[in-house]
C-alpha cells in the first residue's frame, strides 16, 4: 500500500525521476515499466519520502536509481529478504521490490516464496525477459527449454518455471501478469497491486531487445496479440480473438476454447480473482503459443485474497506482550528473576 502525501501537492511523473542517467539499452522494455510506474505513483500522489524501492542485481534492478524515493540496489536475489526486514521494522512505508526473472526465481527463489507465504504488504514487480540481461545473455529459469544462449549453445536443458503456478503454490495473495508493451494495462495492474493489502506479485513480460528480442512478440505484436492474449476483467467472461469472437468455458473440469457463435457469453468462464481454483486454471494456461490446442495467455489479476500480514501480526504480538506484561523496564530486565546481595 502506498503512502500518500498529506499536504496536497500534485506530483507529476517527472517529479519522481532522479538526476541519474537512465542506463538501459535503447529500446529496452524496462523504460516503459519505469514510465508507467512513475505515472501511476504520481497519480496516486505518493509521499516520496515514505516510499522505498528495493532491488537485487540485474538490468531491471537498477530501477531504484531512477525513482526519487528512498531506495536500495542490494545484492543478487536478496531484495525480497531485505524488504522483509524493512517492512517488518517500518510497516508505515510503501515498499516496492524490483526484480528480474533470474534475481527472483533463480538465486532469489527461496526468499521469494517465503515472502509470499508471510504476506508482507509489499509489491513485487518481476521483470521477466526470460534471460539474464546484465550478465549478457544466459538462459534463466523462465527461458523455454531448448533456448540457445551463451551458456546453452545447444539449447537449455531446464524445464522452465511457470511463475504464476509457482507463486500460487507458495500461497501468494495477489498474482497478476502484465507486459511492457501495454502501458495502459500495466498502469491498471500497478494500481491494483498497490491497493492490495499483502504481497502483490506482478509478472511483467519485458522485452530484452539485445539478448532475447521478441520473446513475447506473439503477445505484444498487433497481428498476433488478439489470438494469443486474454485480458482478464473482474466479473467479465473470458473472451478473446481479433473479433472478440472466442471465449473460454469449463467443460467438466477442463477449460476449452469455444466460438461465441456457438456458445452464449453467460456460459463462459466468468473471471473472479477471488476464486483460487480459477486462479489455478489461469496459471495453467501456459501453453507454448501456436502449439496444438494452445490456450491464449492470460493477463490481468489472476488472484487476490485477504490474509493477515506478517508485519501487522508482529506488531499485534508486541502490543499483546505489552498489555500482558507491561512495557518493558530495563532495570527489571537486567536484574532478572532472582538476585542476591553481598
Amino acid at each position: 500500500m502506498t503512502k500518500t502525501n498529506d499536504i496536497q501537492v500534485n506530483l507529476t511523473a517527472k517529479d519522481l525521476a532522479t538526476d541519474q542517467d537512465v542506463r538501459w539499452c535503447p529500446g529496452c522494455g524496462d523504460y516503459s515499466i519505469l514510465k508507467q510506474l512513475q505515472s501511476t505513483l504520481a497519480e496516486a500522489n505518493i509521499s516520496k519520502e515514505d516510499t522505498v524501492f528495493v532491488s537485487g542485481i540485474g538490468c531491471s534492478s537498477r530501477f531504484p536509481y531512477y525513482m526519487d524515493t528512498y531506495g536500495i540496489h542490494s545484492i543478487h536475489g536478496r531484495a525480497t529478504a531485505l524488504a522483509s526486514g524493512l517492512k517488518a521494522s517500518r510497516p508505515d512505508l510503501s515498499v516496492w521490490i524490483i526484480t528480474g526473472d533470474g534475481d527472483s526465481l533463480s538465486i532469489g527463489g527461496n526468499h521469494l516464496i517465503h515472502l509470499l507465504r508471510r504476506n508482507f504488504d509489499v509489491n513485487i514487480l518481476m521483470f521477466n525477459n526470460e534471460i539474464y540481461g546484465l550478465t549478457k545473455g544466459q538462459y534463466s529459469p523462465t527461458s523455454p527449454k531448448g533456448q540457445t544462449t551463451k551458456s546453452s549453445p545447444m539449447g537449455s536443458l531446464d524445464h522452465p518455471f511457470n511463475p504464476a503456478a509457482l507463486v500460487l503454490g507458495a500461497s501468494a495473495t495477489f498474482v497478476a501478469r502484465s507486459m511492457d508493451r501495454d502501458p495502459k494495462h500495466m498502469r491498471e495492474i500497478l494500481k491494483a497491486a498497490d491497493s492490495h493489502k499483502g504481497t502483490s506479485f506482478i509478472e511483467i513480460y519485458q522485452n530484452c531487445n539485445v539478448f532475447n528480442d521478441g520473446a513475447f512478440e506473439v503477445f505484444t505484436d498487433k497481428g498476433t496479440k488478439a489470438d494469443n492474449v486474454i485480458l482478464l476483467e473482474e466479473g467479465q467472461p473470458l473472451i478473446f480473438g481479433a473479433d472478440s469472437d472466442k471465449g473460454i468455458r469449463f467443460e467438466g473440469m477442463k477449460p476449452v476454447i469455444v466460438s461465441l457463435s456457438d456458445v452464449s457469453k453467460d456460459d463462459l468462464w466468468i473471471h473472479d480473482s477471488k476464486d483460487e481454483t480459477k486462479a489455478y486454471f489461469l496459471s495453467k494456461m501456459f501453453d507454448e503459443p501456436g502449439s496444438e490446442g494452445a490456450m491464449p495467455r492470460p493477463f490481468g489479476v489472476f488472484y487476490q485474497e485477504d490474509r493477515f500480514r506478517y508485519e501487522e501480526a508482529m506488531n499485534e504480538q508486541i502490543d499483546r506482550a505489552i498489555s500482558l506484561k507491561g512495557k518493558g523496564d530495563l532495570d527489571k530486565l537486567i536484574r532478572g528473576s532472582s538476585t542476591w546481595k553481598v
Binding site: 522483509s84 526486514g85 517500518r90 512495557k327 518493558g328
Partner: protein
Amino acid sequence: MTKVTEKKEDVIILFAGDSGDGMQLTGSLFTNTSALYGNDISTFPDFPAEIRAPLGTVAGVSGFKLHFASVDIFTPGDDVEVLVAMNAAALKANLHQLKIGGTIIANTAGFDKKNLRLAKYDNEQSPLLDKSLDKFRVIELDVSKMTREALVDSGLGTKEVDRCKNMYVLGFLFWMYNRTLENTETFIKEKFAKKPDIRDANIKVLKSGYFFGDTNETFTTRFEVESAHLPKGEYRSIMGNQATAIGLIVAAKKANLDLFYGSYPITPASDILHELARHKNYGVKTFQAEDEIAAVCASIGASYGGAIGVTASSGPGIALKGEAIGLAVMLEIPLVIINVQRGGPSTGLPTKTEQSDLMQAINGRNGEAPLVVIAPHSPSDCFHTIIEATRISIEHMVPVMYLSDGFIANGSEPWKFPAAEDIKEIKPNFADAEKSLEDGAFYPYARDERLVREWATPGMKDLQHRVGGLEKDFKSGNVSYDPANHERMVKVRQEKVDRIADFIPEQKIEQGEDQGDILVIGWGSTYGASRTAVRELINEGHKVSQAHIKYLNPFPKNLFDVMKNFDKVLIPEINNGQLINLINAKYDLRAIPFNKIKGLPFTSREIKEKLLELLS
C-alpha cells in the same frame, strides 16, 4: 551422630547423566543456591551432539560443571572434586576429569548389566565392583529405588516418579555442602504451581536426598564453601547468551532505536533468539528467517529503515552471510553480527566450543571489506561487550562482528549488574533536512571528521537517496566507476574502521607488572583460564602478566607498546593460531602460539604449565 564440617576454598562438581536425567537443571539449581550463599561461581554445560542420543551410551551423556568458591574464580575449573554419575556411561565419559581422591556419587541403578553394556565396559564388568576406582571415594546411592520409595504413595506414574530422580541427588549434595533447600523449594513451587502433585513429589524427593545424608551413618563429613569476598552489591547469575540478549535490548533503548533481530536457528546461537523472543514487551522484533542470508539481509533492511538490525549465527551460518555483510560495509549502515563460535570447520563439532572464526570475521568477504571485530571474555562481559558493539555500529555507521563462543554462551557466573541509568546513551548520527542539505542537495556519503556518514532513513523529508553495493561516489553516493574514486573509497572505508581506535579504551594490563618475562595475551573465552594461571604464577613470584584483547579490529592503539615490554608474548587460543597471525602480520614481534583444538576450553593448569615451561 555428629558430622564433621570441613572448610573448602573452592569445589568443582560435575553433574553427569543421560540427556534425560535432568543434569542441566540439577546443576543450575545448585548454582543458584551457591550464588545465594555468596560464592563466586563459574559453570560449563556440555551437551551431547544428539538431541537424545541412545539412552545409556557415552554419546548420550550430558554434563554440567559447576565451580563455586570463597575466592575469585574465572573458569569452571580444572580438577573435578565431585562427580555425580547417574549411570555407567556418565562415569566412563568423565572419570578422567576427576582428581585423585575425588568423590564419585554413583547412582547404582545406572550400573546394571544393560547400562554397563551400553557404556561399553568390558564384559559388562561394573567399575563399582572392581578396583579401578580405588583412587577415589565412591558413594553409591540407589537413586532410582529411593526415589520410587519416597513416592510410593504419591499416586504418580513410574515415568513421572522417575523424573524426580535428580532431586534426590540434589538434596544429597545440598546436605553435603551444607546448604539449605529453601531456594530450590521456592523454585519448584513456582515451576509446578499448576501441578501440585508433581510439585510435592519433587520437594519430597529433594528432602529425602537431604535427609539421607543427614541420617545415614556412612556420611560423616560435610564441606563448607564460605562466601567469596566479592565486591559488595546486588548480584544475579547470568549466562552468556542471556547477557548478549538483554544487552542488545538495553543498547537499542539507549540509542532510542527499535531492535530488529533477524536470525536462523543454529547451535549455540539460538538461545539468544529464544531469550529475545521472550521480551516482546520491550518492543523487540525477532524474525526467524528462512536461512542465514535472509536473516542478515532482513537485518540490513531493518537498519536501512532506521532500526538497529542485528543478526546472529554460528560458524557455518556466518559463512553464508559473508556476501551480505559486504553489502553492509558498502552501505555504511549499522549492523551487528553475532557469531557464537563452535567447533569447525564445516559442521564440525556443533555442540563444542572453539575460537576458530576470527580469521573469517576479519576476511570472510570478497574485496576489501573491513569491519569492526570485538569479543566478550566471560558470560557477564557479554552484556557490556554487546552494548559496546552496538554503540560502535550505530555511532560509526559500520558493521560490527561480535565473536562469542559456546563456552561463554552457555557458561554462567555471578554478575553484579549495573543500573540501567548508568549505561551511556548511544547517539545515532541521524541526518535531518535542516542541517544536512547543502544548497538543497543531500550528500549521503559526506562524512564528519571520524569519516562517519549521516544516517538518513525513509520518512525523512527531502533526503531521499539511493544506496547499493556498487562503488559509490565519495560524496553523492551515486554509482561511480571512476578509478581514483574507487581507491579513495577503499581507503576511506579502511580508515574509518582504523579511526575507531580513537574511540575505544587503550589496551590495559589485566594483572601483573607492565613489563616482565612473559605477557599472556588472549581474546574471548580464554580469559578465565589465563587469569587464574597468571594469578597463581604472580603469587609464586614470577614476572608474568596478563592482557586480554577485546577489540580485535581495530586493535587498541597502544597494543604493541603493551606487548613490547615483555621478553615473550604467549597467545593461547582455542584454534590453530589466528590472533597470533594478525599480531605477527602487524607488529615486529614473534609471539608464541599456544593452541588447544579439542572443542574444550583451556584449563588454567594447561596455561600455567605452558608458562612454567617458557619460564624455565
